[in-house]
């Protein structure tokens, strides 16, 4: 009694898989860009923003970090319509991913900002830079450089977490795998292939983001 595995039945559906990969990458790219920006904004509030904003941002960060992504997604997609906000599955997925990444990035970037050597701030101050100018030109670039690996890891985590978005019918990779196995009943093979694709995606994304960080953030030289 051997186990018969039929990968061919899955691989023949490569167009569906390719579409799923494209969706996963697209969702990740958009969420990464917007999520990190949101994270930087929140980190700014928490380190030197106005006092009245701090509790709200703090609550947002703690709420997201202590609840599962799937619940956040379901709340946005199923719950918000009750409050009058009706979103498509794709928009709900992006928003959930941005909100999720934003909270984690906020903490990561905050750590980077707080590690700024005091001398840098004093030099900027003595050059008559304003607080905003100091943050944008002196504090933020080295802070991002410092935490880039952690930020990249978090983006990968969100990318892998996006698999859940298939549950609300966003046509990303896990949805494709599910669709394939519902047609040919090769569930195990389908998910093995999907998992392998995710693994390749996470390695490729990590390598690309590391390269991007080196090239663009670090002034075109070894960081």
């Amino acid at each position: 009694m051997g186990i018969q595995l039929d990968f061919a039945a899955v691989l023949v559906e490569w167009p569906l898989l390719a579409k799923g990969v494209a969706w996963t990458l697209g969702l990740t790219a958009v969420s990464a860009a917007l999520g990190v920006m949101l994270g930087v904004a929140c980190a700014w509030v928490r380190t030197q923003g106005p006092a009245w904003l701090k509790p709200g941002v703090g609550a947002y960060v703690e709420l997201i970090r202590n609840t599962p992504f799937i619940v956040q997604l379901f709340f946005i997609f199923f719950g918000l319509p009750m409050a009058g906000v009706r979103l498509s599955a794709e928009w709900a997925s992006v928003i959930a991913m941005v909100v999720n990444l934003g909270a984690y990035s906020a903490e990561i970037v905050r750590a980077g900002i707080e590690a700024t050597p005091r001398g840098q701030l004093e030099a900027a101050l003595s050059l008559a830079l304003s607080r905003v100018q100091t943050f944008t030109h002196v504090v933020l670039p080295p802070a991002l450089q410092r935490v880039w690996p952690a930020l990249v890891s978090q983006i990968i985590i969100v990318m892998l977490g996006s698999a859940v978005c298939g549950q609300i019918s966003t046509e990303e990779l896990s949805y494709a795998a599910n669709l394939i196995q519902s047609r040919n009943f090769r569930a195990f093979e389908a998910f093995i292939v999907a998992a392998a694709l995710y693994l390749m995606l996470s390695m490729a994304t990590r390598a690309s983001l590391n390269w991007l960080g080196r090239r663009w953030l670090f002034g075109g030289r070894r960081g």
Binding site: P68, F74, M82, V164, S174, F188, F191
Partner: protein, 217 residues
Amino acid sequence: MVEFSLWDILRNLLLAARWTVVLSLIAFVGGGLVGLALLVARTTPSLWLQKAVGAYVQLFQGTPLLMQLFLAYFGLALLGWDTSAWTSAAVALTLYSSAFLTEIWHGCVKSIPLGQWEAAKSLALNFGEQLRHIILPQAARVAIPPTVGFLVQVVKGTALASVIGFVELTKAGTMITNATFKPFVVYSMVGLLYFALCYPISRYARSLESRFHAHSH
């Protein structure tokens, strides 16, 4: 249409939350035991073992937990074993936790200065004794805050078990939503219940972290 009160909803969610807690503990403890074995394997001089554990970690950290749950569910079925959502979720989450925990602990062991190993060796301790009496006790101290922090990840991970049908807090939320047509209220409560579980653990992990740093300087 039957009217459901807030208390009805909350009560049912709380009953399901028990299973979240049980599954979390099983995965955390089970994952800890497997992770410990993997840690010892990785610390041996065998290059093959080190690479194997490294690959294991890469596998679990580079693929979605959802895929791991599906694979456990369908994979166990292929092997002819019991494929209740319970077993699959327990197996998948245990292996998932073992990979992350062993990676966390490996980092802690690596942070112990080489001089400690050398001192232990020159006192004629064998590898097992070096590990047990010198290295692991020190590594354990460093490891406690991030390990406690990882428990939060496990609790959040159990939410995905709902997708393969395991009735824990999230699945209960979905079922109650379908019965009451109140997704906003239900999922808000689900979120708050997870928060009630995870936030104290997060805070505790943070306080351990600052206590550890206060001591070590």
